[in-house]
C-alpha cells in the first residue's frame, strides 16, 4: 500500500469538551483522493456486502480518487438518503468487511462518505427534487428518525403524498434528541429536513400517534401507514436504590441536554453532571455519548461500567473477517478522560436522604453454559463500592411501545418488536408496514435507513402493483 490510512483528526480533548460543536478536523482534498486510492476495487467488494445499505463503496471511492465528486455524490445518494448521518455516526461494518482490513488498516470508507456528503452540500448539489408526477396515494409515516425519514423520502420520490408524524417538537428522532451535538450538529439534520420539506413531504410534529390521534383513525385516513417509531422502551436496572435521586436514564439525560443546546424547553427536573462524580452504566454508544456530554457539562470524573468482558483489539475466533467482530472500540468520548471498567455488574445503589451517594459492584465471570450460551457468574469477594453523584443508565432498549400495537391489534415478535414480514415489511395488518428499530429492535442508523428504503419499495408495490424504487439487492453479511 502506497498510502497509510488516514481519517479526520480531532481537536484536542481539553479544547473540545468546552463546547458542543463537532470537533473533527477535515482532511484536505488531496489526502482524501489518496484515501480513495487505497480502495482496491475488489472482485468481491465485501464492504458493499457489509454495508446494510449496499452502498456502492468501490465505485464512490474510485470517483473520489479521480476527483469526480459530483459523480461520487450521485453514486452515494443512489443507495443512501442521508450519507451525512451515516458518514458521522455509523460504526462502519463496511470497514470491518474491507478486504484491505484482512491484514492492513481498512479503507476509511466512512470518512470518505462524510466528505462526499459535505462536499455535495457545500457545492449545492444536494437539491430538492420534487416528483414530477404525483399519485393519488396518501401515506403516513409514524416517526421521524432515520427510518421514517428515509422511508418518507423514497415514497415521496415515487410520487405519493407523505405525511410524517412526530411526537416531539422537531423531526429527527434519536438523531435529534439522542445523539449529542458534538457528534451531529443539529443544523445537519435541519438542512436535510429543508430539502425533504421542499420535496413536498408534510411534517406533523407534536402529534403522538396512538395518543393525540388514534392509530385506527390514521389507518382510515391513509392508503398505507409505515411505523418507524423506533425501539424506545428503555431497559431498566431494577436493583436496590434504583429510585434514588441521581440515578437517571441516559436517554433522559441526553435528550434534555440536546434540547438545552438547541434552546428548547424540556420537561422535568434538570439532570446535570456539573461538578459531579458520574458513573455511566453500559458500554455502548449511548454510554459513550453520556460520557462526552457529562464532561462537557463539567463532571469531575466519569467512570464507565460494562458487564461484559473487555474485548480484545483483535477479532475473536468465531467472528473472522469479514463478519462484524466484537472488539474493543474506543470512541472520542472515551478518550476525553473516562475510566472504563469491564466485567462489572452493579448490585445496588446507596444513598442518603433519597440522594445517590455511591453504588456497589461485583466482578463477574463469563463461561459457556451447558446450553452452549455464555452465562455469567459473580466472583465472590470482589464487591466494591464507588462513591458517585450521578449514575446514567445506558442499558439499551427492549423494543417497541405498545399503544399503536394495541390500537391496531398488531402482532409482536418474541423480542417485543412489531412483527413484520422480512420479505415486504408488512405487519399482520395489510396496509400497515413497519421499518427500522420498531421492526428489527435497537440497531444502527444505517440499518434504519436501509429498512426505511426497503419498506418504501414494498409500500409502493403494495399500492401500485409494482415499484421502481430501488432495492438494495441480496448480499447482507449475517452476524455470527
Amino acid at each position: 500500500m502506497e498510502h497509510e490510512r488516514k481519517v479526520d483528526g480531532y481537536a484536542p480533548a481539553e479544547e473540545r469538551i468546552r463546547h458542543y460543536k463537532e470537533f473533527t478536523q477535515p482532511l484536505k482534498e488531496k489526502d482524501l483522493k489518496k484515501q480513495g486510492s487505497r480502495c482496491m476495487d475488489c472482485g468481491i467488494p465485501f464492504c458493499h456486502s457489509g454495508c446494510p445499505l449496499g452502498n456502492l463503496i468501490p465505485d464512490f471511492n474510485d470517483a473520489v480518487y479521480r476527483g469526480k465528486w459530483e459523480m461520487a455524490t450521485q453514486i452515494l445518494h443512489s443507495t443512501n438518503n442521508f450519507p451525512e448521518f451515516t458518514g458521522r455516526l455509523c460504526p462502519a461494518p463496511c470497514e470491518e468487511a474491507c478486504v484491505l482490513g484482512i491484514n492492513e488498516d481498512p479503507v476509511s470508507i466512512e470518512n470518505i462518505e462524510k466528505h462526499i456528503a459535505e462536499t455535495a452540500f457545500e457545492k449545492g448539489w444536494v437539491k430538492a427534487h420534487p416528483p414530477v408526477n404525483r399519485t393519488d396515494k396518501h401515506i403516513a409515516v409514524v416517526g421521524s428518525g432515520p427510518a421514517g425519514l428515509a422511508c418518507a423520502q423514497q415514497l415521496n420520490r415515487a410520487g405519493h403524498k407523505v405525511t410524517v408524524y412526530e411526537r416531539d417538537e422537531k423531526p429527527g428522532g434519536l438523531l435529534r434528541y439522542g445523539i449529542p451535538d458534538f457528534k451531529l450538529e443539529k443544523n445537519i439534520i435541519d438542512r436535510r429536513l429543508d430539502i425533504l420539506d421542499e420535496e413536498g413531504i408534510t411534517f406533523t410534529c407534536n402529534v403522538e400517534v396512538g395518543k393525540d390521534i388514534s392509530a385506527k383513525e390514521l389507518k382510515e385516513q391513509y392508503d398505507a401507514i409505515v411505523l418507524c417509531g423506533g425501539a424506545t422502551v428503555r431497559r431498566k436496572l431494577p436493583i436496590e436504590g434504583a429510585d434514588l435521586q441521581g440515578v437517571e436514564q441516559a436517554m433522559d439525560f441526553l435528550s434534555q441536554n440536546n434540547r438545552k443546546v438547541d434552546g428548547q424547553p424540556f420537561e422535568g427536573a434538570e439532570i446535570s453532571a456539573e461538578g459531579k462524580k458520574v458513573i455511566v452504566i453500559g458500554g455502548g454508544d449511548t454510554g459513550s455519548d453520556c460520557i462526552g456530554t457529562a464532561f462537557r457539562q463539567g463532571a469531575i470524573s466519569v467512570e464507565n461500567f460494562e458487564i461484559l468482558n473487555k474485548p480484545g483489539l483483535d477479532r475473536p475466533e468465531g467472528q473472522p473477517w469479514p463478519f462484524w467482530p466484537m472488539r474493543l472500540r474506543t470512541s472520542s468520548s472515551h478518550e476525553e478522560g473516562a475510566e472504563r471498567h469491564f466485567s462489572v455488574s452493579t448490585k445496588s445503589f446507596k444513598g442518603e436522604a433519597g440522594i445517590l451517594k455511591s453504588l456497589v459492584t461485583v466482578e463477574v465471570e463469563w463461561a459457556k453454559g451447558e446450553d452452549g450460551r455464555m452465562a455469567l457468574s459473580e466472583i465472590t469477594g470482589t464487591e466494591k463500592e464507588w462513591p458517585c453523584d450521578l449514575v446514567l443508565l445506558a442499558l439499551g432498549f427492549t423494543g417497541s411501545e405498545t399503544s399503536i400495537v394495541d390500537q391496531l391489534d398488531l402482532e409482536m415478535d418474541p423480542r417485543t418488536n412489531i412483527k413484520a414480514a422480512a420479505v415486504n415489511y408488512m405487519s399482520s395488518i395489510p396496509g400497515v408496514f413497519v421499518a427500522g428499530d420498531q421492526r428489527r429492535g435497537q440497531s444502527l442508523i444505517v440499518w434504519a435507513i436501509a429498512e426505511g428504503r426497503e419498506a418504501a419499495h414494498h409500500v409502493d408495490k403494495y399500492l401500485m402493483g409494482n415499484s421502481h424504487l430501488p432495492l438494495k439487492g441480496e448480499g447482507d453479511l449475517p452476524r455470527v
Binding site: 468481491i44 467488494p45 450521485q74 453479511l477
Partner: protein, 1502 residues
Amino acid sequence: MPLQQQGLYFPEFEHDNCGAGFICSLKGERSNHIIHIALEILDKLEHRGAVSADGKTGDGAGILIDIPHEFFTDVCSFEIPERGSYAVGNIFLPRKSNQQKYCISILEQELENQGLTLLGWRDVPVNPAIPGRIAKETEPIVKQLFVGKASEEQEDFEFQAKLFSARKIAEHEIYNSRISEAEFFYVPSLSTRIIIFKGLLMPEDIKLYYKDLMDPRVITRLALVHQRFSTNTFPTWDLAQPFRYMCHNGEINTLKGNVFRMQAREELMKSPLFGDAIKKILPTVLPGKSDSASMDMVVELLLMTGRSLPEVMMLLVPEAWEKNPDMDPAKRAFYEYHSCLMEPWDGPASIPFTDGNYIGAVLDRNGLRPSRYSVTKSGFVIMSSETGVLDIEPENIEMHGRLEPGKMFLVNMEEGRIVNDEEIKQAIVAKHPYEDWVKNNLIHLKDIPYNAEIEVQEEVGLGQRKKVFGYTQEDINTLILPMGMHAKEPIGSMGSDTPIAVLSERPQLVYNYFKQLFAQVTNPPLDGIREELICDISLTLGSDQNIFEYTELHCRKLKIQNPVISKEDLDKIKHHDKSPDYKVVSIPILYEKERGHNGLEDGLEAVLSKAVSAIDKGANIIILSDRGVNAKKAPIPALLACSFVNSALQRLKKRTKLSIIIESAEPREVHHFALLFGFGASAINPYMVNEIIAEQIEAHDITEYTFEEAIQNYNKAIGKGILKVMNKIGISTLNSYRGAQLFECIGLHSELVNKYFPATPTRIQGIGLYELEKEITQRHYKAFGKPDLDATLDLEIGGEYRWRRNGEAHMFNPLTVAKLQKAVRNNEATTYKEYAALVNEQSRHLMTLRGLFEFTNLDPIPLEDVEPWTEIVKRFKTGAMSYGSISKEAHENLAIAMNRIGGKSNSGEGGEDPDRFYKNQSGDWKNSAIKQVASGRFGVSSNYLTNAREIQIKMAQGAKPGEGGQLPGAKVGPEIAKTRNSTPYVGLISPPPHHDIYSIEDLSQLIYDLKCANREARINVKLVSEIGVGTVAAGVAKAKADVILVSGHDGGTGASPLTSLKHAGLPWELGISETQQTLVMNDLRNRVVLECDGQLKTGRDVAVACLLGAEEFGFATAPLVASGCIMMRVCHLNTCPVGIATQNPELRKKFEGKPEHVVNYMYFIAQELREIMAQLGFRTVDEMVGQVQKLDRSNALDHYKSNGLDLGPILHKVRTPEGTKLYNTEEQDHGIKEAIDFELIERAHPALFRKEKTKLSSPIRNTNRAVGAILSNEISKNYGAEGLPDGTLKIDFTGSAGQSFGAFATKGLILSVNGNTNDYLGKGLSGARLIIRVPEGTTFKPEENIIIGNVALYGATSGEAYINGKAGERFCVRNSGATAVVEGIGDHGCEYMTGGTAVILGSVGRNFGAGMSGGIAYVYDKDNSFRKQCNSASLNLLDVEDEEDISTLRRLVEQHYNYTLSTVAQGILENWDVRLAKFVKVYPEEYRQALIRIAEEKLQTV
C-alpha cells in the same frame, strides 16, 4: 453408416489427421514395385494412424496409382481403347443387389446422357477376410467402371468434364433417392489417368484386400498413399483417402465458412462447358463429408474452370502474401486478385495432390504439418510426413528437402523433373495482367477522401440510448475506456462464476448466447502476435463474379485494412460515388416495440425484403443500421439481423451480390465483433462506442489522446482481439473467418437458430424469438418506460466482472466466501453445510446447468456402507496453478495438503524445485503429484517428469482455451527462474499451441514421449468443454492417454482477456456428458479415466459430475478460497492482498493458508458426497459413474427463460450391452515395450550403474521414436537432475531416427545419428549431447539438405546439439538453455527462446526470433540477407566483437567440426578472421537488461 446424432454427440465435429506420402519415378518408369514401396511408406507411418476398439479396423487408408492399362487390357473381358482415351473408376456400391443395380443403372444412365460410352464393368477382386469387425459393417461392394469417350475426337478436357458431370449428377440422384444403402455409393475415382484403392483398412492390409495390387502386371509411375487418424471410430469407407485429386494431412478450420461461401458462389457460376446443366452438378460440396473430401470436391470443380491443379492449389492455400513486402509484385497481385474470389482454406494442411501428370504437394502458410522429401539418384522422388520411411543407401541420395510454409513442391511427370515453387508460380501469375487489374480496380478505404462531416441526428439523448442497448458503467469503465486508452483488450482473472445467459435473470444481449469455438488437439491455435506476418484481418467488400471467368471486374472491390471502422470511415463509404458499379444502401434495423415479438419478426422480414430489393436495384453494399431508436422503435439485435440477412440471401442465391456493413450501437466487446464477422458482416461501425469515447474525452477520462486517436486505439484493440479469437481456432485470416460461424449456441431454441442462425449447433434448446424480444423490451423499458426517479443512477453499475448486489449473480460472493473460510479454518462442519447450502441453493437458483438437476431414483443405504472419505479423496485433485502464477507458500500449501490425504496437486506450468521432490522430516511432502506439461514447457526436464505420479498435457485451459500466456519479466524472480529453467527477469511466453501438437497424431506422439520419460506416471490430457470435445476425447483415448480431463469454461486463471474469460468454452456439464456418451459409443470408455473440473464447489457438484460420467475431480478456485483467496481478481497485477497470486515478498508474508484448511475442505466435500451416495444407493464412486438415470430435471424451477431448456441430451444414456463398465477398468497399451531403449539399457549396464564410460551402436529407423527418453528416465531415477558424468554413455545410431529423438535426454548421454532425423529432435533436452551427421558416402551438400525435421529442441533446458545439415521450421523454439549448432534453418527460428545459445551457419527462414526474450543466437550471414528475415522488434543485431563472444562462438564451431566433420564449419574455421565479420549476434534486449540486472545483484551480494 456414420453414427447418427444422439445425446450431445454431433457427427459433424469429427476430425481427422494423418500420415501421407507419395513416390514417383522421375524417369517415368512404371513398376509394380512402386506400389509395394508406397505401401511400405504407409506401414512405416502406422504410428501416425489409429486403430479402433476392435484392434483391427484402421481409420482408413488408400493408394492412388496410374491406371494400369496393360493389366486392364489383360483382365477385362471387354475391349479397352488406348491408354488415356478411356476412364476407369473404382466404384463403391450398396450390398443389396437391387440397390446395387439401381445405382449402376443411374450411373450408366448419366454417362449415356453425357454421350459417353460405357465400356464395361469389372468386379474388383477383394479378400473379404481382411477388414476388421467394425469395418465389415460398412464394407461396400467394389466394382470397376470403364468409360469411353463420346467419340475419338472428343477433347480430353471435355471428356473429363462429361465424366465429372455424369458422376456428380448420378451422385445427387442416388443420395436423394432415399434408398437405404445410398451411403454405400461412392466413386473413389473415375479418371483417365489414375485409380484409387482405398478403404477402412490398416495400411498393410490394402494390398491384401485389393488383390489387384499384388498382381505384377499392375504397374505405375507414381503412388500416392494416405492413412487416417480419425478422432473416433466411425470412419467410413468413402472418407478414406486419397481423394480424387488430393489427400490431406491436417485440418481445414474454416471449412464451414468455405462451404457456405462456395454455395454462395454457385449462384454466379456459368460456363459454356456445362451450359444449363451446371445447375444439376451443384452443389459442389456434398454435405456430411470430411474437410478433406469437401476440399477435393472444390478442387475438382475449379479444375473445370480451366485452372491447372497447381493454380487451384494456389487459390485455395495461398502463401502468406499480405505482409510480405519482398514478394514478387506479380505474384502478390495474383494473390490479392484471388483474395477477392476465394478466401483461404485455412488450417494446418499438407496436401499431396496429383492429376496423373503433375504430382506434388502444398503446405499451409503456417507450415504446421511436416512434409519431407528425398530425391534419389536412381530417379525416385519420395515425399512423406516423415523421413526414413524407406531405406535408401546414403550414396543414392540426391537431396533431402522439406516442404516450406506456403510453398509448393511439384513433379512434372511428363517432363520427368522437379519444378520448383518459383517456376511453377511464375508461370501461373503471368497468365493475366493481375497487377494492372488490381491497381485499377481495388480501392482502399484509406484512399477514399473524406469530404464533410455528415451529422447523424439522433432524436434521443445518449443517456437513454445507452440504456436501450444495455450499457452499464462497467462496460464503459472496464471495457471501452481501457481500449480507448491502451489499444489493448482488458485482462481479468479468476475465471467466471456468473450464470450462462439463458440462466441469468438479467436481460442479456444476443451475443451472450454464443460461445466461441477453439482449437484443441486436432488443430493448433495460432499466435497472431509473434507470427503476425501470417495473419491478416483485412476484408474486401463488393460484388463477387463468376469463378469460371477471369476479368478485372473480379477485383473491383473496396478493401478495408481493419474492418472495425469509425463513423468517419462509414461516412466515406456511404458517400463514395466515384465508381459506377458501387452502390451503398442503408437499411434501418428497428421494429415497432408495441407489436412485441411479432413486430420483431416482421421487422426482420422487412429488413430482408429491403435488402433483396436493394440488390435488385444494383446495391453491392448494404448498411444495417440501428440508428434512430426512440420510445416507439426498438432495435433489432444487430447480430440477429446480420445473420438473418446473410443466411437468407444465401438461401435466395443472392448473397454474393453484396457485402454487409453493420452500423450499430450494440457491439462493444471483442466477442460482439467476432460474432458479427462470424455471421457474415464485412465491416462494423460501433457508433455508440464512438460517442462514449467522445464523452470520455469531454470528461477528461481520456487525456493523453485526441478523440480520433482514442477511436483508433479502440478499433485497434478490437482488431487485435478478433485476431486472437480467430487464432484461437487456428485461423489466420479474417477473410476465411468471416461467415464461418465458428460458434456454438447455448440456450437458444433450435427453431430460432434454424431460422436466423442456420447450421449453428444448439444442443440444449432454450429461448426463442419471443423471449429474445422480451429482453429487448426490458432494456427499452429502462430507457423509455421507467419513470425517472430522483437519486437513481443514470446507468447501472454492472457487476459482470466484479460482484455488486444488484448486478449479475456470482457463485462466489461475500457470503459463500466468508462461510467457506470460516468452515475450513475452524473446522466447522455446520458452517460448511451452510456454505454448501448457499452454493447448491444458488446454483438451483438458475445459475448453473447442474442446478437444474435434482437427484431421483433414490435407493437409500446406510451411510456406513459407503466407502470412507479417505478413499474418496484419492480421486480429488487441485488445479494446475504454477508457482509463478501463485506464490511459493500457496503452491506448497496445496501440495502438502493433497499429499497428506493421498489426493493429487498439480505443479501447473512452471516446473518445480527439485528440493520439493523429497519428503521433509515431519513427513510432509511438497511434491506435486501431477506435473504439467504445457506449451511453454517451463521446467520440463527428465528429472521433473520422473518425479510425477501423473503427467498432464494441457491442451487448453477453461478460462482461455486456445490462448497462450505470458509471465512478464518483472515477475520472473531468481527463484521462479530457477524452477522454470530460465533466466531471471526475462519474460516468459507460453505459446498458444504446443509446437509439437498440431494434430491428433502429434498428441499421440507426445503421449508416447512422456510415457517413455516416466512409465509409471499416468498421462493426462486436459481438454476444455466445447461442442465436439467428446469426439476429440475419443481421439485422445485412441492416442493412448490414460486420463482425460474435461474442464468447464469457467475455471480460474491468473490472467486472461475478458473475452475469453466469458465467451469461450462451455460448462463442464455439457463437456463431461458429451465425452462420456462418445467414449461409451466408441467402446473406449473403460480404457481411460475421465476427470472433471471447473468451478466444482460442493459435494453435490461432484455428485452430478460423477453421475454424468466423471470419476476424478479437480478443484482450484475453492481450495484457493479455503487458503485465503478472496476473489480479488487481480492475479494479473501481482498485488494479491492475501499473498496467493503474488510474488511480492511483502505480500507473500500475508499468506495465512494452512494445509489443514485445504484438507478440511476436501473432507467436507467427500462427506457431502458420501451422504448423497447413501441417498442414491451407491457404495462406491465406481458404481456411481455415468448413472445418469439418477438425475432428473428439477420441476421446482420456473423462469420464462429456462422453461425452454431441454436437458435431455445431457441425460442421454448410450445403450450398451449388459455388463459394460462405464468407468476405467483397463490400462492402455502404450507400446513402450517395443522401444529399443530397453535393449540399450541392458547393454549400458556398466554406464548406468557403475558410471563406467560405455560406447554402443545401434541401427535406427523412423519407427524408433523418442529414443533416449526411457534411458534418461532410468538415469533420473537414480541420479536425479545431476544425471551421469559428461560422456558416460555414448550411443551411435545409424539410419533415420524417428520423431522426438533424444527427447528429455539427460546428462551423461551422447547420442549421435549417422543419417537424419524426424521432427522434435531433442524435445525437452535435459543435458545430453546430440550429434546428427550425414552418413559416410553422402554426396550432397549437408547445408542445403534437410537433416532434421521441424521443431527441434522444443523446450530444451540444457544440453548440446550439433546438426550437420539444415533444420526445418521453428528450430530451438522455446529453448531455455541448450546450445545448438546447425547449418541452416526454416521459418520462425528461435521463436520464444528464453535462454541457451544457437549457432546457425547457413540460411535462415522468415520471422526469426519472434518472441525471443532470452538466449543468444549467432548467425552466419553469408549474403547479408539475415536482417530482413528477423522479427527484430525486440532484438539487438550486433557484430560479434566481444572477446568472450568470439571465443564462445569459435569453440562451438570447432566442436561442431569435431563432432560432425562439417565442411561448412571447416570452411569458416579455415578463414576465421574473415568469416567472423559475417556473423551477426542476436541479443534480445530483454535478455541484455536482465543480464545487467543479475550482474548488479551479484555485485551487491558480494
